[in-house]
Amino acid sequence: MSLRLGAMLPEVLKHLFKKPATVQYPFEKIGVPKGFRGRPVMDPNLCIGCQMCVKDCPSEALEIHKESEATDEAGKVSKKFSMTFYLDRCSHCAQCAEICPKKAIHMNSEFEDAAFDRGALKIVYK
């Protein structure tokens, strides 16, 4: 290939009349695709407290606590569980959502999760 002085000049000049490829982010947002791995959200009504999510989470970002235990007339025990989730540790791998046998966890499409205070990143689902 031969050398050409200013080989990029035509392309560059063409861009004078093109729309910029960037957007002004905080004012203008481009969405995330379906299936984006945002923040895990847990539905306490579905949870059976099997602790699989806690065991598999690579970042130790989850805790499952028993909230209440009730026995109905038929003698069936129904337990309620809550999840304490530390967003500051989560690596958004979605392993918890994958392993949960009751599909009690799903990933939402939130991506602006930064905060100034660690306390704000502790989320309790109950």
């Binding site: 392309e11 984006f36 970042s59 979605a94 392993q95």
Partner: protein, 395 residues
Amino acid sequence: MSTFILPVGPQHPALKEPTSFRFMVDGETVVDADLRLGYNHRGIEKGCEERTYIQDLYLLERVCGICSNVHMTVFAQGVEKLMGIEPPKRGLFIRCLMGELERVHSHLLWLGVAGHEVGFDTFFMYTWRDREIVEDILEMISGNRVNYGMQTFGGVRRDLDEMQIKKALDGIAALKARTPYYLNIGASEPTLVARIAGVGVLPKAKALELNAAGPTTRASGVDFDVRKDDPYAGFGEHIPFNIVTDEGGDVLARVVVRAKELMESYNICEYILKNLPAGDIRVKAPRKVPEGEVVSRAEAQRGECIHYIRSNGTDKPDRVKVRAPTLANWPATLYMLRGGYVADIPIVMAAIDPCLSCTDRMAIITDPKGNEKVWNWETLRQYGIDFYRKRGIKL
């Protein structure tokens, strides 16, 4: 001017990652080069021994931000071998697809960085703009732009639907139309060629002797590629492709090799997307891994990536050892830097596409009496914390 020592790193604008070079410089010429690694040791290998295989998968993914998928793939492959399971064909194809998409994003990124190192920022901006296309495809398929988390034991974690295949094909077609332009610019813009042609030459014999890896060695005419020489996943008989080599051995040759590898990768992606076999994407994997040891490897965008895994029959590995491609390329880099210009240091160094966080290890030197010390995760962690505390860093 007589010779003096020019320190580059551990903090330097040419290196976004910490490593330290000492250059003996005579005026504008580099007389000798020396390297010190070890500024970014994170204890990942040790960490693996304290976690279950599933957790290790995600930990090892974070060895590197650019070749995250490769580390995951290599580890998953190795553990699958130990478990004695074989992923279904569709899973293997998607595994290859992720690898190639990652190679595309990495090579485009590298082209831009190479431009930036020689002050050609327009080139950098254009390649990175086009890299967004493949980033979007990766995000669409996996749900994340950096750590895709696609590989798992027994296959891949997500499937592709018709819509996604169509979108991915469109994106790849756009990239395919665009890439020859960069190859063209790389070989014809006089100021750019002046900076990369004949710079950092690594002759074939030296490349072999110093064990260079990946595009660096292929640009010196060595046709080594794990995808061909030790086919894994869907490579081998299933997916056709060619190894790209160049005889130049200089930085220009590395640009050419990477640009042409991009074209190969587009073809592989198209082939996979058009010929995706039907069926499952994964098989069920046991949680405990039978005793044994395995070496697993794959062709990362920077070269051959090797993991050694030893299991002791529990759900945690006994030992994991990572050999990232950058480590293999350092001796060759020092060779290339000697006798060059100071101005060529950044581009020669960048030409191997170095990744330091992949490469750094810690060495414990035992006392002469041979009182060996076994460090576990906790001691290692405490050591790190104390190390920084001593230097006045609050943790």
